[in-house]
Subunit: 699 residues, 2 copies
């Protein structure tokens, strides 16, 4: 920039003063201005306490001028929104969307007034901001080299983090100070096959933090569309976090065409941990549903042929052999290995169990050819998604399911050969339609094909959304395993019921497992963006029954409590029917528990320690409560003030035995009933690694 | 290698002597042996003259031991094959497949006898060799880092070359000595939008060469399946060519799973240039047809809405605007630009012309939405392949075509967004089926999505074959523009009629064009692997009629001769009906000329100078002859000894006017008839840049 121009610009910028907005309740204050070199900067305070110090914003463009500095404010626009909307399903019947908005229209005078817009939305529970690239002459197609959104923290906060990684989010959480983050060494790293760790000081979002002043801060994103996922680079000296995008094969972050916009960057803040879990800001920042007739979307519980493969009593594959070319095999002549799980008979067993116990869906994994040799990186065509193994009679199974009123859930493991899945999706969905399947579970185990793409790169983000759209067009629900973590897009695509996208219960079957604190962290991190298909409900906690040294790291009743603390409209009862039949008294809770709610109360919560939540059944007056603890025993007194004053209830309490313990005595429990009413105090006694589940039904 | 082991190995290898095979006619001799470090080496002689000096062979593997040295011969196997087969269509009714085969089974004693096989097939016209990775313990999934097939030439041969490039083959040919190759600077490089030149001394195959001893050598490949294309690295000191593969996004060459095999490397050799054009070795090295009922495959001529866009009198796009998101446009409300080519009315005009003039097909480009903004690298979903523009009534058009007995050819420009095409292929083909389309022309203009892949990388090679397979399943013929150059796979997939894959006639419309020699080189290079959709038949040579400075670099009758010299079972008559109607006497040759043949005689040929070919119509006794020259006038005396002795013929000669000249007087011609018979001498007078076409019909 020439000196004269610079001075001109400098003085001109003085005429546009900084701008401030407050949250509807007046407690949060956002300040925005341009600094002396025309860089956009913002800061955020809560009750006059600084939460985010002066932080820079902007986008670096490849092979073109960037949107980082040299800006002048063209105009500020402000809006206030206060509305209510009803989700198709969820934790609440009605969601309040109330924010003050600041739209900052910037221009770059040195670049022929090139336009750039930053939008801030300030809610009572936090801040969202995004960038907009307006339609304009001379700036149309562009490549994002980096995003430079900063979150300058006020100190060396405690953080609940997993390593920054382009391909997996299935790590155990660490909790350390930001200065102590070491993302190249941590818990359970060798248990994950396909990982691409960025470096020592990179962590994933949502990043949950707690300050020395007991402020809870959660940094994440909302509405991740046509853009890579955001991870966070941690400056371990000054505690500035910077957005770090996931690159494609060329090292580029996103290919965009103006007009367009980035996902929202979000900061959820409260001095109460419970408020973090109660926040609906991520959902509010997403677009309304695109599905005109959502009647096909029906939250449900399901069982399935799945856990038996994880514990090793059955196999996904039908035979033991190599399959260099899928098409070349005549399956009718293949010798079965005798351990194949997905047989017609076994599926009927699950259908019978589901029909008898208020379970609406049955999943079958391993029904289709290709599992013999399903590592995909060397061979793109691993699965065809349409050909059942000889011992799985798809017609017989679906006819039987229909006769019992059960919805079958199709399984599409892509082995991360996503181009292969895209190629075959039409045929796969035609088969589902033909047999009346209502939902599909997808999987993305392995390194991505197209090679060089990542689970969290722009191409894959678009793939996940395409799958949601295409299933919606076919009236299918969808649940994705090993995708990017969700960012509230289930508001826009409510048929996208759940995702795995974190370390699920399955790790308890074959790794060092999920430590007792794990499920107390997930709602503060992974679940901020949407429901998780955690697959709770393992009753046979100790796996020595199956000759395995592993075990689930909870008590049996903590598994029940997860149905409340880990919200999903698609909840698996993941154990074998045989194990449930050995504990039908405890299974009653799973049988009763709904998956769709009119109200939810976060009763108490502390990340890494405990969570207690009560939820009110959709369209009914019954409540269900779940309370879980980490490895520490805890006692809670829960005020039942959320109950209707005019009603009387019967509470059924599913609690651990007094000497219960996730390791020493995980399967001992007591179940008892008592009459309760509004204002009663319910005492919960949680053993180490334990939990309590309570149904509170109107008398 | 430990010293003792090495000695053991060394002495052991002495027990397996070198091996030699000769071609069926005894003229070509292949020698194979292992050198002192166990590297496989071969050499080739023709009539005791060395053609290929001692050359190394092998494969470098990523993250594993390579197949380059330390070999021991486990066994040699030899076979002789002498058979005839009939192609579904082509230049000959019957093709002779006659070779001696040497199978070299190698092991690597230091690597627990790891197995590797090299297969040589020696024909009278040349050599093919390939590598086989046998099924074996401990070597299953692997990545090819490089292929090290050498072709050690005997001198600084003259070469007809285009730059080594991962993404395009649309260059003009240079002819220089190998030592003078400079592939970073040459003809017409700036006329190609999407190019990825490898470096100064890399050229593409087929590489046509001529030695100082007037030996013609052509180096290429056959049966390119699940592997990247081979280009050639030229050592400009010692004249060793080495195979150079096209990498993927990760810089890897191929992801393979044993058992598997590489494409054939081919060396076609003769002291007569005509023999190079007559060789069917590439076809013989491909697998037989996989199409059980080929009755839907019907060679044909076609016209289409295409050249008018190239000369600028019409546009592919319907409107002039940006389309940031295809789905968001309501096309019924879009203001048309008034220049759109693919209208219902204009299509009917082409259908009428085709029906009146023995043309079987009509192509329409620009019929579908998306052309407004079709640069794809920033936006993946450029086309949907199913939605016609408002002024193209697909039902009306196809009904009309049916009533006139015309086959419609669908156009699918992918803009190189190939993942998008794969995703939408099923729907696109359903539409074609619904309206009875018989063929599709695909296009791949631009840089490839999946990003980081190349037109010639393994993923794309597999894509082209998938498209051939999928169209075959639907009984469609296919013709690909901007794909990898063909390698004889039309034997295996005879519905894969033709490809562009080189600099076509279109370059004459908007670049400095194709110099007069261009069409005399293509049959020695690009066409070695299969038919080219060159789109000949431009009659309005000078484009000043359309306000353009460009022109076609041939005479009008040379355009006719191309229908013979440039074989394709799918031949376009590329000019506008109006231009044909101005020269219906000359168009009679196109009207008459077949596209499928019982016999072909290469009468004379010299790369870069001239080609004369006569072909016998499939199932009939008529012959057609084409003769073309470069910028030099030439006179040929053609002995009509190929005619049936017992028959009398009427020859119709389409020749340039005496003062014809591609630049000064390209559109003046004479047409005359004469009676000819076996043994007559037909004199051809070719003007600069000219050509002569002759139909010789039985009286």
């Amino acid at each position: 920039m020439k000196k004269g121009l610079f001075l001109l610009f400098f003085f001109a910028s003085l005429f546009i003063k900084a701008e401030t907005i407050t949250s509807p309740n007046g407690k949060l204050i956002l300040d925005f201005k341009l600094n002396e070199t025309g860089e956009p900067i913002y800061s955020l305070t809560l009750d006059k306490m600084q939460v985010i110090k002066t932080s820079k914003m902007g986008i670096e463009i490849k092979d073109n001028d960037s949107f980082l500095s040299g800006f002048k404010v063209a105009s500020y626009d402000k809006n206030n929104v206060n509305e209510n909307w009803e989700p198709v399903w969820g934790e609440l019947k009605t969601i309040k969307n109330n924010y003050n908005e600041l739209i900052v229209n910037l221009i770059q005078p040195d670049l022929r007034d090139r336009k750039f817009t930053i939008v801030f939305r300030l809610f009572d529970d936090g801040l969202g901001f995004r960038y907009i690239f307006p339609e304009q002459q001379d700036f149309k197609n562009f490549i994002i080299k980096s995003e430079r959104s900063e979150f300058a923290l006020t100190g060396d906060h405690k953080a609940f983090w997993i390593p920054g990684d382009y391909d997996t989010n299935e790590y155990s959480y660490s909790h350390t100070k930001l200065s102590e983050v070491d993302a190249t060494f941590g818990k359970g790293f060798n248990e994950i096959g396909s990982k691409t760790i960025i470096g020592k000081n990179f962590v994933q979002s949502p990043l949950m933090m707690k300050t020395a002043d007991n402020l809870y801060i959660n940094i994440f994103e909302a509405a991740l569309v046509n853009y890579p996922a955001m991870q966070l680079k941690v400056n371990q000296q000054n505690f500035i976090l910077t957005s770090e995008l996931v690159p494609d094969a060329n090292g580029n972050m996103a290919y965009l065409q103006a007009p367009c916009r980035t996902p929202w960057r979000t900061i959820i803040i409260s001095d109460k941990a419970e408020d973090i879990l109660a926040s609906k800001m991520i959902l509010n920042l997403n677009e309304p549903s695109k599905i005109k007739d959502p009647s096909f979307i029906q939250p449900m519980k399901y069982v399935g042929i799945w856990w038996e493969m994880h514990i090793g009593t059955a196999s996904w594959n039908y035979a033991d052999m190599n399959v260099p070319e899928l098409k070349s095999i005549d399956w009718s002549k293949v010798k079965p290995n005798g351990r194949h799980g997905a047989t017609t008979e076994r599926t009927k067993r699950y259908i019978d169990f589901a029909a008898a116990h208020n379970i609406q869906g049955v999943l079958v994994e391993g029904w289709n050819i290709g599992w013999e040799d399903w590592g995909s990186y060397y061979r793109e065509e691993v699965f065809d998604f349409v050909t059942p193994y000889p011992d799985f009679n798809i017609k017989e199974v679906t006819d039987y399911a229909k006769s019992k009123g059960i919805k079958m859930i199709m399984h599409h493991e892509t082995s991360a050969s996503v181009s292969n899945y895209e190629i075959k999706m039409d045929a796969a969905y035609r088969l589902m339609k033909e047999y009346g399947y209502g939902a599909v579970k997808t999987g993305y185990v392995g390194y991505i094909i197209p090679r060089g793409e990542h689970h969290d790169s722009q191409w894959m983000i678009n793939h996940y959304i395409r799958a949601a759209e295409k299933t919606a067009e076919n009236n299918f629900m969808i649940c994705a395993h090993e995708p990017v973590r969700p960012t509230g897009l289930h508001r826009t695509y409510p048929n996208w019921m759940a995702c795995e996208a974190a370390r699920g219960n399955e790790f308890n079957a074959w790794s060092k497992g999920n430590q007792p604190e794990h499920e107390t962290i997930l709602p503060f991190t992974r679940l901020m963006g949407g429901p998780m298909d955690y697959t709770p409900g393992i009753f046979q906690i100790k796996l020595d029954k199956y000759g395995k040294k592993e075990q689930v790291h909870t008590t049996l009743t903590k598994q029940l409590a997860l149905y409340i603390t880990m919200y999903s409209p698609l909840q698996m009862a993941a154990d074998l029917p045989e194990n449930y039949e050995a504990h039908l008294d405890a299974f009653k809770f799973i049988e009763d528990v709904p998956v769709d709610w009119d109200d939810s109360k976060i009763i108490n919560a502390e990340p890494g320690d405990y969570i207690t939540i009560a939820r009110k059944e959709k369209g009914k007056d019954n409540w269900y409560l779940g309370s879980i603890t980490d490895e520490t025993a805890r006692n809670f007194k829960v005020d039942l003030n959320f109950l209707d004053k005019d009603k009387s209830y019967i509470a059924t309490i599913y609690e651990d035995a007094k000497d219960g313990d996730w390791f020493k005595n995980p399967m001992a429990y007591n179940i008892y009933e008592k009459t309760v009413k509004h204002g009663d105090i319910l005492e919960l006694n949680l053993v180490p690694g334990g939990g309590t589940a309570v149904s509170i039904k109107v008398k």
